[in-house]
């Protein structure tokens, strides 16, 4: 034996294992140093004794050779203390790096597994980030204005329309001067104008915000070019216009020289004062605003509407107010209520039913009237996407479990090499976090694509709906959190399991040994059941939305959807008087009617569910039944003769307007069935009279039309009336054409008619009624819901296939030897296949049952989003369950077939 052997190198593997094992049990520095030095001295003494030196002499000699034991010990001890401190940090980092390296290597070794995991997670995260971005854009993102946290929306209410609505200009001034609760307030209202840029002959429609004098200064807005309008400038009624950054980019290519030039709005020149900073996208939640002008200049821009500055009942603006510090909305509400009472006393004619509502700006999005619904909508969609992510996590966990099983031997070897349980758990965890991060990246790419798509989404409506959805850091943070959680969730199950199994068990069992332990099977079974259940809930939701869309399309809107072409025009720029307007539109209607393929033509100001709605005050000589008031706000449309014939709406009594209803003849209206029912119950409404103003002429009801949907698909029947264009001319009208052929084919001919009439008429919104409803606001909610839910449902379905397939194939791979033996003993392949299928079928059945129960309990949360279908519609439930059942069986069939085709010889030899 050589000295070298005695130094402790007989079995490297053995000594390595022992060393690693001890490494976990590090003692305190003082003991460690004492142990180490004592060991040295003893070894030296032992060596001397081997060479024949007596024990006591050997010890003495060993100590002598060592030198000053105490000094060395003290020095080493201080070094050791120092070292442990710095090392524990360095070691953590080094081990982390090692873990990541190991994770990347093991992912590379199983690319198929990794891509399925990353894809599964990425899609889940992507769906989440997208939905979150949309919700964030509308609900959570603060306005980039001064002191946005104290901003509150102030709206007006009245008994006739209890939903909070627009505020009149004089009332705004009173709200603004409520200095006890508000430090300031701004007003703004949407208005459409024909704009002609300098040096251009083409007019285009722009969306303006008419704003209060203090709008720019109070909001603390900054210019990107030029300057913004000052309070003093607005008070001087200077015709100044401020451009939105996006409009500036789109229309003027960000040319700074536009500042100082003039843009003609409805023919009136407005000088461009400047451009607002890019970050500001307006205070309107749903509409993109192109430019801003002071409301004080309204007389120059639109003289017809100038009285709104004086008229308390002319409510058409939105108001944002800053609550004073330490003033809550409750106190503001009290102050507003007493203001309303005071106004009612001072101005009984205009303010009898007046009330105010106030809410923090962030809770009143997109509009105070519908804001109560919005958190529900957001909640439902976030809930659905979270389910998808949950399924993805469950699936990934499943895949990880299956994989960790095939890695039992690898893990056992690692443990044998001295890796502690904690370390192994951490390594597996690192691997799943690395996978999650890859999934996160994929998800973010998907989300960016989706939000980009949504931002470029164009609705078939004649105003620019705001879809500015972009990923921002909040979204990123939320998504990253979800991803890391997903990583930990997916990582923890296999890691704990691999940590628990004992080394001996694993080695004895062999890599593909027995049928796996009961606990493991139960865990995987539970996961698959959960996943099928969740998928079923998603598919049922998708089904309910899809049925809502069908129901919406088949619902009786009160008019015909088919064979109708729409085409809008705005003649404001032509500066015609009322008589000229009547002539122009009469000619247009006449010429359009003679077009080949056109049955009838008519004009109307508002399209059903087109987002443009106007109301007027109806004044009755007696009190309205059920109230102690005699005025009421009623929505109305301005139409020409043959409107009802053209749009396909039934008249229940009376007649249409005719060419004989002129400005000079008796004022006439047609009301809808609901109005007739409310105001003249059990009486014939035709022939009844009321007024539009207390001192106005009487108006005669000449007809009663069937109820229709005017603003929203799921609105309750509401009073509505129609006035003849001849008696109330406006600038913007939409031509309706009832056609015999496909309406789209008539678009060109109809355009020619308009051109022939007057080449300067601006045409827009040329579309069929079907397009208007399907891609406009009418079906927006259900369509969007259906789109999202269908996408999620498909994702859920895909996830279930991946999940069940994974688990059943894993089960088959586990039982390869068993099947081999059975086949060798003469079992028929169909028996084996049936056995495997049964495993999948049992899990599927349990999953479906649980899913049906969850769906039955939870889909009613979506009730307010659905249309024309019950939230517990059994047909949808049944179809979804059968669909998922069939797909699940199919995904179990593939591994079942594989099991039945096993070659017994190969299966048995494979170990």
């Amino acid at each position: 034996m050589t000295d070298r052997d005695r130094m402790g190198t007989n079995d490297p593997a053995d000594s390595v294992r022992k060393r690693r094992f001890l490494n976990l049990h590090r003692g305190n520095p003082a003991d460690d140093v004492a142990d180490e030095l004592a060991f040295h001295v003893e070894m030296r003494a032992a060596l001397l004794m081997q060479r024949g030196v007596a024990e006591s002499a050997a010890k003495q000699e060993a100590l002598r050779r060592f030198g000053d034991f105490e000094t060395v010990r003290a020095e080493c001890e201080s070094l050791e203390r120092n070292k442990t401190r710095t090392r524990s940090r360095a070691m953590l980092l080094a081990e982390l790096l090692q873990d990541i390296k190991w994770a990347v290597r093991s992912i590379k070794r199983a690319p198929a597994f990794a891509s399925v995991v990353v894809l599964t997670l990425g899609v889940g995260i992507g769906a989440n980030a997208s939905i979150f971005s949309v919700v964030n854009a509308y609900l959570f993102r603060p306005l980039p204005v001064r002191e946005e946290s104290r901003l509150a929306v102030v709206a007006q209410t009245s008994k006739g329309s209890p939903l909070p609505g627009s505020v009149s200009y004089p009332n705004y001034l009173d709200v603004q001067s409520l200095k006890t609760v508000f430090s300031d307030a701004v007003l703004f209202q949407v208005n459409v104008a024909s704009a002609r840029a300098p040096g251009s002959n083409d007019a285009e429609r722009v969306f303006l915000n008419l704003v209060s004098d203090n709008y720019f200064s109070a909001l603390g807005l900054k210019p990107a070019a030029g300057s913004l309008i000052s309070i003093a400038g607005a008070r001087r009624k200077e015709a100044l216009i401020v451009l939105d950054y996006r409009y500036w980019s789109r229309r003027f290519n960000r040319d700074p020289s536009i500042v100082g030039q003039s843009i003609r709005l409805n023919g009136t020149p407005y000088t461009v004062a400047g451009v607002i900073d890019k970050s500001f996208m307006g205070t309107e939640q749903l509409v993109t605003i192109d430019a801003y002008i002071p409301i004080s200049t309204i007389a120059q821009f639109n003289s017809e509407e100038a009285p709104m500055l004086e008229n308390r009942s002319w409510s058409s603006s939105r108001v944002l107010a800053w609550l004073k510090p330490e003033v809550g909305t409750a106190r503001a509400q009290l102050a507003l209520t007493s203001l309303a009472r005071e106004l009612a006393r001072k101005y009984p004619d205009e303010s009898t039913d007046l009330g105010f509502a106030v809410a923090p700006e962030k809770l009143a999005r997109p509009d105070l009237a519908v804001s109560k619904m919005v958190p529900w909508i957001a909640g439902v969609f976030l809930g659905l996407t979270t389910l998808v992510l949950l399924v993805a996590c469950v699936n990934v966990t499943n895949l990880m479990l299956a994989r960790s099983n095939s890695r039992q031997s690898e893990l056992a070897v690692r443990r044998a090499l001295g890796a502690g349980n904690a370390r192994l758990v951490r390594q597996l965890l690192t691997e799943s976090v690395v996978l999650s991060v890859m999934g996160l990246m994929l998800g973010l790419i998907l989300a960016r694509w989706v939000t980009g798509y949504v931002s470029n989404f164009h609705l078939a409506v004649d105003f620019p709906v705001r879809f500015n959805v972009s990923l921002d850091w909040r979204v990123f943070a939320a998504t990253a959190t979800i991803a890391v959680l997903a990583g930990i969730i997916t990582g923890i199950a296999p890691a704990l399991r691999s940590g628990r199994g004992s080394l001996a068990d694993t080695l004895r069992e062999g890599s593909r040994g027995g049928t796996g332990n009961v606990l493991r099977q139960r865990l995987q079974g539970t996961l698959v059941v959960a996943q099928i259940a969740v998928s079923l809930v998603l598919i049922i939701s998708a089904g309910l939305f899809a049925r809502s869309v069908r129901a919406a399309a088949n619902t009786d809107l009160g008019f015909r959807i088919d064979h109708q072409l729409l085409m809008s025009t705005d003649i404001a720029l032509l500066h015609l008087n009322a008589g000229q307007k009547r002539v122009l539109f009469a000619q247009l209607q006449e010429r359009a009617t003679t077009l080949p393929g056109v049955q009838s033509a008519a004009l109307a100001r508002d399209l059903p569910m087109g987002g443009n709605n106007n109301s007027l005050d109806a004044y009755f000589d007696e009190n309205i039944p059920g109230t102690n008031s005699n005025t009421i706000d009623i929505y109305y449309n301005t139409i020409t003769p043959r409107y009802f014939e053209t749009i396909g709406m039934k008249l229940l009594a009376g007649r249409e307007f005719t060419a004989d209803d002129r400005d000079s003849t008796t004022r006439v209206v047609i009301i809808n069935a609901e109005m007739a029912k409310q105001f003249w119950p059990n009486r014939d409404a035709v022939g009844q009279q009321f007024r539009f103003r207390k001192d106005g002429p009487k108006v005669l009801i000449v007809g009663v039309a069937t109820n229709s949907k005017y603003m929203f698909l799921n609105e309750p029947p509401r009073p509505y009336l129609y006035v003849p264009f001849a008696q109330r001319p406006t600038d913007q009208m939409t031509l309706h054409l009832r056609t015999t052929a496909d309406p789209a084919t008539l678009a060109r001919a109809a355009r020619e008619v308009v051109r022939g009439l007057n080449p300067e008429l601006a045409l827009f919104g040329v579309k069929t009624m079907e397009t208007h409803l399907n891609f406009g606001l009418a079906f927006l909610f259900v369509r969007f819901g259906a789109l999202v839910a269908t996408t999620l449902g498909l994702l859920g379905l895909l996830q279930s296939i991946v999940g069940l397939y994974g688990v059943v194939s894993y089960g088959v791979s586990q039982r390869t030897r068993e099947f081999g033996i059975r086949l060798a003993l003469g079992a028929s392949s169909s028996v084996v296949a049936r056995d495997v299928l049964k495993q999948g079928a049992v899990l599927t059945a349990i999953g479906l049952t649980v899913g049906l129960a969850i769906a039955a309990a939870s889909t009613r949360l979506m009730n307010s989003l659905l249309f024309g279908v019950s939230a517990t519609d059994w047909e949808t439930f049944a179809v979804a369950a059968v669909l998922l059942g069939v797909v699940a069986t199919l995904s179990a069939y593939v591994p079942a077939r594989r099991a039945s085709k096993l070659d017994p010889l190969v299966a048995l030899r494979a170990d």
């Binding site: 402790g8 190198t9 690693r20 180490e36 060991f39 040295h40 030296r44 000094t71 060395v72 080493c76």
Partner: protein, 118 residues
């Protein structure tokens, strides 16, 4: 008592101990006593080291990240601290070896030259 091959043991030059430790661990991961034994054998006991001074040197090297240590069992089943060379230790050893060779070559060259007649 151990016999020395030639004359009295030499005192270690400053810094040489570190290089010797690295060299010992390059060949074999071992405990402090193993390192001491290797130095004895490799230098035929020609170098005298006070064995106690080995340990502060080992600790300092570990702190510099040139070697790392783990607890384990020696072959007679005693708990002992085992040292091994890290990657940067290997690099350091190469550098020091090269430097020492240049130094030694220079010394040999200088010492081999006869004094010039005045």
């Amino acid at each position: 008592m151990e016999a020395h091959i030639s004359g009295e043991p030499l005192d270690l030059l400053r810094g040489t101990l570190d290089v010797l430790i690295l060299r010992a661990l390059q060949l074999q991961s071992t405990h402090g006593f193993g390192v001491a034994r290797w130095i004895e054998q490799a230098t035929d006991d020609a170098l005298r080291i006070e064995e106690g001074s080995l340990y502060p040197a080992l600790y300092r090297l570990e702190k510099r990240g040139l070697i790392e240590s783990e607890w384990g069992f020696s072959d007679n089943n005693r708990k002992a601290r085992f040292y091994s060379l890290t990657r940067s230790g290997r690099t350091q050893l190469r550098a020091e070896t090269a430097q020492f060779s240049r130094f030694a070559a220079a010394m040999f060259k200088a010492l081999a030259i006869d004094p010039q007649p005045a």
